[in-house]
Subunit: 324 residues, 2 copies
């Protein structure tokens, strides 16, 4: 077994050698640029920790781990164009640093490179791993599509919202654990349990993200509190509030979430008052805890000695507690 | 063995059932829209004819054939954004019919779906077929990148141009023949010969395309003659001319290819006069014929009875003679 730091270093080396040629530079430089950002590398971490449940060596599974990071960064490049985001992790986004054309094409080649890396999985489980990766990749696209559509709708049901965040971000976490473990010899049922663990962990984390945006101490979390409220963004909190508000409050809340004219602080404060009134925070905390517990239970059921699960438990408990 | 019409019908059915779900409609409708266009289906045709060299049945290889068409149409969707093309095959392009965001994301999911279809190749040859498909997909991106860069450059060498058109369009034809034949049991060396045949055929066809743009009878070819000249587009003919023009003519030709102010007919006529003077047409004809001959020779070397090669020979001689 290898410790977390060794694994983290392996991942950085793997990403630095992800297989992008030097030329044409206009195609591959943007891929290197976004991958060199200071992401948390959660996805390759999950992949290798999934593998380490079943095999002491993690090196053979590094290409799969790197594939997950390359795929994730492909989605960032294309999503940033769609969302017209100027900055990502403190650096200009690819379409700002270069242009939209470059960002489209470099993103495309990153998706292809992710498949090249995935294809290095052991032949015996390649069809299975490919199938999981492809299903996940499609769901991530569907999640992004739903996210954009939901932002244009007046009301979105909580179930639809949960399905959207699951597809947009959580299925990939499940996929990482599935593919890493399966490549390292996990049975189909253990790999499926690990998929569930990653999926539920991701949903729990997304709900936490929504909570933190409204409630976190700005100094600790590093973002302005209430950003989602100011931007009229649909979150677990806003949708819960809209779903349970009484007849009198509902139209006022709807108005709050469609106005651009109110001063920011006043708007945040008005919404937070409604959150208090309807105990929205408690509902969100409960959902977050429930998904986290389901993830924990799924991991418990995986048929490997408890000692092997320690690193993954640590990752679940620590890395996911506050940061993306 | 199945005749051409049966195969063509199979392909249309395969494309109509390419596996795109109904929802989210905003994601999958654009994929269905571009795939329902009246393309020639050259790529799936090549795939199944490659398969038919080695197996009487073609149905098992239909997913691979459809993958090639889905991949090709993915490149059209994204290229049309980059080229700001408003119309494709007489219909609005996806980014015009919907918007750029939709065209990016639908294109992405088409690339993923192409991989899903490719993954249905027989397990024994899956790694090989995946490797060829991925290498090809990367080269297609590199070709598009080079094409865009070349348009911004003053001068491009003929070798660079040939490599660019090979990557942008011809490697995929080689890939179709390779994957179809390999899936149907071709040896690695026969599949490689078929790859060469497709590659060379594609280059020959691209040079022909450049020739036709300048020399075709507009009534027969359906496009205005000299369109490439009017748009200052780099083609085999323009680059050959620039490469061989003498010191006196060279600056005049460079000026011709950078002007926007000359009346169209006058500009076309001036360039055509230089083509005459330097016998550019003959040089292009010779290159076209040489690549076509290399394709023919490669097919001749494939170790199957001559009778099995008839359908593919017919496709090479007829479908590629005039139309894309």
């Amino acid at each position: 077994m290898q410790d977390k730091n060794t694994i983290a270093q392996l991942i950085e080396e793997g990403i630095a050698n992800a297989g992008f040629p030097d030329t044409p530079a206009g195609l591959y430089d943007p891929a290197r640029y976004i991958l060199s950002g200071s992401g948390k590398r959660i996805r390759p971490m999950l992949t290798l920790m999934g593998a380490q449940l079943f095999d002491d060596r993690v090196e053979p599974y590094l290409p799969i781990a790197v594939a997950m990071e390359v795929f994730h960064n492909f989605t960032l490049v294309h999503d940033d164009i769609m969302d017209q985001a100027p900055v990502r992790r403190g650096k200009p986004t690819v379409h700002m640093q270069w242009d939209t054309t470059t960002a489209i094409l470099s993103g495309d080649v990153m998706l292809i490179q992710a498949y090249e890396l995935i294809s290095q999985a052991p032949a015996a489980v390649l069809p299975d791993i490919l199938g999981m990766f492809t299903q996940t990749a499609k769901e991530v696209c569907e999640g992004q599509q739903d996210d954009m559509e939901f932002e244009r709708r007046e009301m979105v049901g909580l179930d639809d919202y949960l399905q959207m965040i699951a597809k947009k971000t959580s299925v990939l976490l499940g996929c990482c654990l599935y593919c890493g473990s399966r490549a390292a010899g996990a049975s189909a049922s253990d790999a499926q349990l690990l998929y569930e663990a990653g999926l539920k962990l991701g949903i729990s984390f997304q709900i936490q993200d929504d909570i933190l945006d409204a409630y976190a101490d700005a100094a600790h979390f590093g973002k302005k509190s209430g950003g989602d409220i100011i931007q009229n963004k649909k979150t677990f909190l806003t949708l819960t509030l809209m779903a349970i508000a009484d007849e009198e409050d509902a139209p006022l809340i709807h108005q709050l979430f469609s106005t651009q004219s109110l001063p920011e602080a006043e708007k945040v404060s008005a919404v937070m008052t409604y959150y208090e009134k309807y105990d929205v925070r408690s509902i969100a905390d409960e959902f977050m805890a429930r998904y986290y517990e389901e993830a924990r239970v799924a991991l418990n059921l995986v048929q490997v000695p408890e000692a092997r699960k320690e690193a993954l438990r640590w990752l679940m408990e620590n890395v996911f507690s506050r940061e993306k």
